[in-house]
């Protein structure tokens, strides 16, 4: 059953996260939860690891969750929900439950890329019928912006600050979607709040597939990113249009880019509105901009090749115009 994503129809649906939660005004995570749940047409049982979303939505005696929800610890959202999903299958088999229920994790990048990676990998490998959504804001935001495996190259965080001896995070971020794809799960995708139809279609597609699914959604955090509090959607669009955060899906191993920017913007367009990259624009730091542009271009190129079932080309530095020509293909 296809959901209508017309704003008129969506506005009639109940938003399953009650207002009054403690998220910062302008937080991407709140939008992630609302958009995802709007795209689902059956009951959802959710799980969150410890993190911004979890602490802000459930503080005794209050909860913002209008759906059943569990938090148990930081590193085990996938394991916890796999237990719920298993009990559901048992109850269905025993005829004690008849509803069709969807199981969704809403986890931050810390609880997904780093401390939660083991339990995520295990749950994906075992084949549980659940959708794991990572709201990726690129650092441990809840504890004050410490670096995570998802933090981009060069970003200033409280554990990779910019100083005379260091220029922000030295490492690149992990490619979590490819890690998930390597588990050979039926559906892996990346989405952005700036492209809500694409995001919601992906959620809906995931709902129609049985088995483990993973969806990585960029979740701007103006505190940690040092950006304007009302820039979440703007930055979500810039991330896609600079190819920093490509929109694609890998369905049964087949990669498909779901949105190609009309004009691929230079990475500076995404970096400039964020204070965490301010040092990139200091004199003498031009190499950092070139480096991150190179990383973005390399990953975009690899993705293009995967989407055409080609082997990725040799890692040669390409100018942005050469790369711009590449994506004008079929």
């Amino acid at each position: 059953m296809t959901t209508s994503f017309k704003p008129k129809d969506l506005s009639q649906k109940e938003i399953m996260l009650a207002p009054g939660h403690r998220m910062c005004s302008g937080c991407g995570a709140a939008i992630v939860v609302k958009m995802v749940l709007l795209a689902v047409n059956k009951p959802v049982v959710a799980c969150s690891p410890t993190g911004c979303l979890e602490v802000t939505t459930c503080i005794s005696d209050y909860t913002s969750w209008k759906i059943p929800w569990i938090h148990s610890a930081f590193e085990n959202a996938a394991a916890t929900l796999s237990g719920v999903e298993t009990m559901y299958r048992v109850m269905k088999k025993k005829g004690r439950i008849s509803e069709d229920i969807a199981f969704v994790v809403f986890g931050g990048d810390g609880g997904t890329y780093d401390i939660g990676l083991q339990s995520l990998s295990g749950a994906m490998e075992r084949g549980h019928d659940m959708l794991y959504i990572c709201y990726d804001n690129g650092a441990y935001m809840n504890t004050g912006t410490q670096r995570s495996g998802a933090t981009p190259y060069g970003a200033a965080t409280t554990t990779t600050p910019v100083g005379s001896a260091m220029n922000g995070k030295p490492q690149q971020r992990k490619n979590i979607t490819q890690i998930m794809a390597a588990h050979k799960i039926p559906y892996v995708a990346q989405a952005s709040l700036g492209f809500h139809m694409d995001l919601m279609r992906k959620v809906q597609k995931a709902m129609e597939i049985k088995g483990p699914k993973f969806l990585n959604i960029l979740s701007p955090c103006h505190r940690g990113w040092r950006s304007k509090s009302d820039d979440a959607i703007t930055l979500s669009r810039l991330a896609v249009n600079t190819c920093y955060w490509p929109l694609f899906e890998i369905e049964h191993g087949k990669t498909r880019i779901t949105h190609t920017p009309n004009k691929k913007l230079p990475i500076e367009a995404f970096l400039k509105p964020q204070g965490r990259f301010a040092h990139f624009f200091q004199p003498g730091h031009e190499g950092m901009v070139r480096e991150i542009q190179h990383q973005v271009d390399e990953e975009w190129n690899d993705l293009l090749c995967l989407s055409r079932d080609k082997e990725p080309e040799g890692q040669q530095a390409k100018t942005s115009s050469e790369l711009a020509l590449l994506h004008l293909g079929p």
Partner: protein, 392 residues
């Protein structure tokens, strides 16, 4: 019909789980628990249980999956040993704090480092503050009986607390003992249907599990957790009454052997108690008026009842198969506390034995009996705490 069979401790516990037929079991292998779950897996493969196994990728995930499954509203089990329990440590507190009646056999094994797969009690003792109920088992029969009763205690509407049932790794888990098995229908009727409350799968009545609780309320949450534990004594005893009716076996909060007329006593948990009983019979013949107290329920700890049972003794040796380095052993600390209210207390010594599977032999029991008898004569305790059977 009852069956009386020669089985290992692991087989006995696996059989109890088969008869209970829990909804979900999350399992991860670790010596010496491994073949308990292997046996149980055979039952699932042959369709002798309808339990859905989650073959998780670590013990931390085993307990996490159990928490999710239990909150979803069904009967849930797992089992582990030693470092596996240690890895679950964070989640033990979560399970208890969430009041989920998960049942877990613990096949007692030493903690690393150094790495050691053999028996001691450091694993479960390390978890004594977690909020779990703890039952300790001397042999395969007790392990089987305790595991069946565990479901009724944990799931009791006034309790709703997770429970671990301990038995000695290798010594009991892998050696063969005689076990009186109850018929399947009797066990099934005894444990009954699991009645879940506030489940995650009731989508008409959404609940949130695992809130953040700040300094304005956390203290009260914990006070309630402690208060609930005081109800466990009555519940454990009434479950034991019912169990006696179906099995003919009478269990209490602890067991005693020739204690009532003893001058001095030994206090020990699990299999060492069995060795002590044999030696006590010999020692009695030699004129030592010695007896034994073997705790069964270790958490919550029945201070009043145990103090009452020991208060007449002139001296006692508490045998600990675990240590708290730089302090007295965990069992000693509890026994000493149970005797604190009395004006006259027995002379007490704490002897650490059997760590990492070091054998605890009749000669060792004789050794401590003579030590205590000697201390009684002289009125002097040279060393309150000491390790016995160290290599020279």
């Amino acid at each position: 019909m009852k069956t009386y069979a020669a089985v290992t401790g692991n087989e006995a516990m696996a059989e109890a789980l088969r008869q209970v037929n829990p909804d979900v079991c999350a399992a991860y292998p670790i010596t010496p628990q491994t073949d308990l779950m292997q046996n149980f897996s055979d039952f699932t493969a042959d369709g002798r249980v309808t339990t859905e196994m989650i073959l998780v990728e670590s013990e931390h995930s085993a307990m996490s999956a159990c928490i999710g499954a239990s909150a979803a509203g069904g009967r849930v089990v797992t089992a582990t040993s030693g470092p596996g329990l240690a890895l679950m440590w964070e989640m033990l507190f979560v399970a208890a704090g969430m009041r989920l009646p998960i049942v877990m056999p613990v096949v007692n094994r030493a903690l690393s480092a150094p790495l050691n797969i053999h028996c001691d009690h450091s694993d479960a003792m390390g978890a004594r503050d977690s909020g779990w109920i703890q039952l300790w088992s001397e042999n395969a029969q007790e392990a089987y009986d305790n595991l069946i009763q565990a479901f009724r205690i944990a799931e009791h509407p006034r309790i709703q607390v997770p429970i671990m049932v301990c038995m000695d790794g290798f010594i009991i888990s892998h050696s063969i003992g005689m076990v009186d098995f109850l018929p399947d229908e009797v066990v099934k009727r005894f444990v009954g249907e699991f009645k879940a409350q506030d489940t995650l799968l009731d989508v008409t009545r959404p609940v949130s599990y695992g809130p953040l609780v700040l300094a304005d309320q956390y203290h009260e949450y914990k006070a309630v957790q402690d208060a609930v534990m005081t109800d466990v004594f009555d519940v454990a005893l009434s479950v034991a009454d019912e169990f006696a009716e179906i099995s003919g076996k009478r269990y209490g909060l602890f067991d005693t052997y020739r204690l009532e007329d003893a001058d001095f006593g030994l206090i020990a948990l699990n299999s060492a108690a069995g060795t002590c009983k044999d030696v006590i019979d010999e020692a009695r013949k030699a004129g030592f008026k010695v007896g034994l107290l073997k705790p069964r329920l270790f958490r919550p700890f029945p201070y009043r009842q145990i103090g009452d049972a020991l208060k007449h003794l002139k001296a006692a040796c508490v045998l600990d198969r675990a240590d708290s380095y730089g302090a007295y052993g965990p069992l000693f600390t509890e026994i000493a506390s149970s005797l604190y209210p009395y004006a006259t207390k027995p002379l007490m010594i704490n002897r650490i034995y059997g760590l990492g599977g070091r054998d605890f032999l009749p000669v060792d029991v004789f050794g401590v009996i003579q030590e205590v008898a000697g201390a009684l004569e002289t009125g002097v305790v040279p060393e309150t705490k000491k390790y016995i059977s160290l290599r020279k």
